[in-house]
Subunit: 349 residues, 2 copies
Amino acid sequence: MGKNNIAEEVKNKQVIFRNYVTGYPKESDFYITTTIIKLKVPQGSNAVLVKNLYLSCDPTMQFQMRNVQSPSGTQSFVPGSPIHGFGVAKVIDSGHQSFSEGDLVWGTTGWEEYSLIQKPETLFKIHKSDVPLSYYTGILGMPGLTAYVGLYEIVSPKKGDCVFISAASGAVGQLVGQFAKLMGCYVVGAAGTPRKVDLLKNKLGFDDAFNYKQEPDLDAALKRCFPQGIDLYFEQVGGKMLDAVLLNMKDHGSIIVCGMISQYNLVRPEPLRNLMNISFKRLSIKGFLCRDYFDRYHMFLDTVLPFIREKKIVYVEDIVEGLEKGPEALVGLFSGRNFGKQVVALANE
Amino acid sequence: MGKNNIAEEVKNKQVIFRNYVTGYPKESDFYITTTIIKLKVPQGSNAVLVKNLYLSCDPTMQFQMRNVQSPSGTQSFVPGSPIHGFGVAKVIDSGHQSFSEGDLVWGTTGWEEYSLIQKPETLFKIHKSDVPLSYYTGILGMPGLTAYVGLYEIVSPKKGDCVFISAASGAVGQLVGQFAKLMGCYVVGAAGTPRKVDLLKNKLGFDDAFNYKQEPDLDAALKRCFPQGIDLYFEQVGGKMLDAVLLNMKDHGSIIVCGMISQYNLVRPEPLRNLMNISFKRLSIKGFLCRDYFDRYHMFLDTVLPFIREKKIVYVEDIVEGLEKGPEALVGLFSGRNFGKQVVALANE
């Protein structure tokens, strides 16, 4: 065997999926283990071997924990194997002509220190700049593209439109609100702690915000913030919030649906009483999945990178250090424990 | 006083609204009375006085029975006064330049033998033909326009699309199905009795139909009828049916919402569990109200009258004779007792 096949073997810490989950996931649904990995792509393969730098915690990962085909089309986790999700990584070795050692990439990777990625076509190359690499799990990754597609492709609000955003301080919501402000809209967000409400009002430039956990009557809270009604609702939570929003939409208003996190883990989703307003108010409701729009990614970067550099948009991340903190961070998403985009940092580079 | 002011006075039987209703309306929420009316428009008024020929029973009338502002924007009934709705009538006397004695009209009128209509601008003139006058409460009236607008303006299915219609044998549904068949679609309807299912399959040309009351599992019934999924759902009932449909829509499918009759009278609407499919399946949901489209009425007539004359479309009516039968017929709508469009006939002309 030649020199090329003598590969360094290193320890590879991993977050392993214990077993399928029903209801809310718990930290104990995962465990940490350490295996050995060769830092070399197998000969003849067009895989790439990467060192993972940042891992993204995303609400939709909950579906991958269930023993049913994921309704969003993503691949379920395999009990006894490392979980996977979006992340930022550095190429250590490449069998694929598009990638070379040292390249920075983002895309689907494993929750482990090193991953052998069998389909590197799905990775995006990162052109290194002054922007933090972790941003490629958030504002410059899937959540950013989600916010962009929602407001720039699905329904573009007009200047002066009244826009409401649930989960407003999260990875997607904080951007939707800032995009809507740049479009000249009146923007209100709902979040689940006083600190998040303060963030929305005093750092992210929302016109108003409220803590949905402290409002005894969501309908009244929306009427207070939107005396004339809502033109556009960016829906991420579902349940009670959606029901209250239906009462407060303007005639001919629009609802963009990119998720319903409040309902993902409920065996019995909350009943809705106000769906009849869809016809009474002639509403348009449009669901979408970010992954249908990856071909817009470079157009999106051209829009959002200048916003970041000109400080027209800020982005709040909640970064925990070390793979061991991953399960806690991931599970925390479903109780809103994160403050901004939840990221797990493994290494700087 | 001149001769013009000597008006004939006649008895005027009326359906009076007893009081506001909560839950399902009952026959006893109405009573019949007889008053006296002058068959003459008051001098200086631009009202018209009509003899009512056919009255329409419409699901949305339930909202007008409640002591809350109707969410659909229609005017509530007044306790102690006659109820109102769509009807066909003959002009007896007119103070309005657009109408003359003997004209046939359709539009909003009272549930009584004679009505003084204060805003005749809202009436449509009927150009008498070989088509039954009662059709102007149904196929040539608001339900017909609703079906037309839904399929010709809101979402037009393509040839080969799989279309599902709830309340399929009703005033609107039977037309939606026939329009969709004329467009080359595969069409399935749900109805609530074996006779209605037979009507859909053997008279109205639906490809398939099922009795939703006899299906233990609506999801299974839909999977049987739509193994490849549903492209377009014409929603009129809401609740359990909508929830099962959400599981069976194709990706990028459309839902047109013109009502949710199953939920109108429920204090606690049925919970929906499958709304998350709006994003997973990238669905488009569009609500509409027929009254926004009355300017399309003549275009609609130009489309549908030839279909009727060429027998490309048939229309099933359930006509009861006499104002006294009105309350029973109206209340029957909410348990699906009607077989086709429910009409109350008062006089032939």
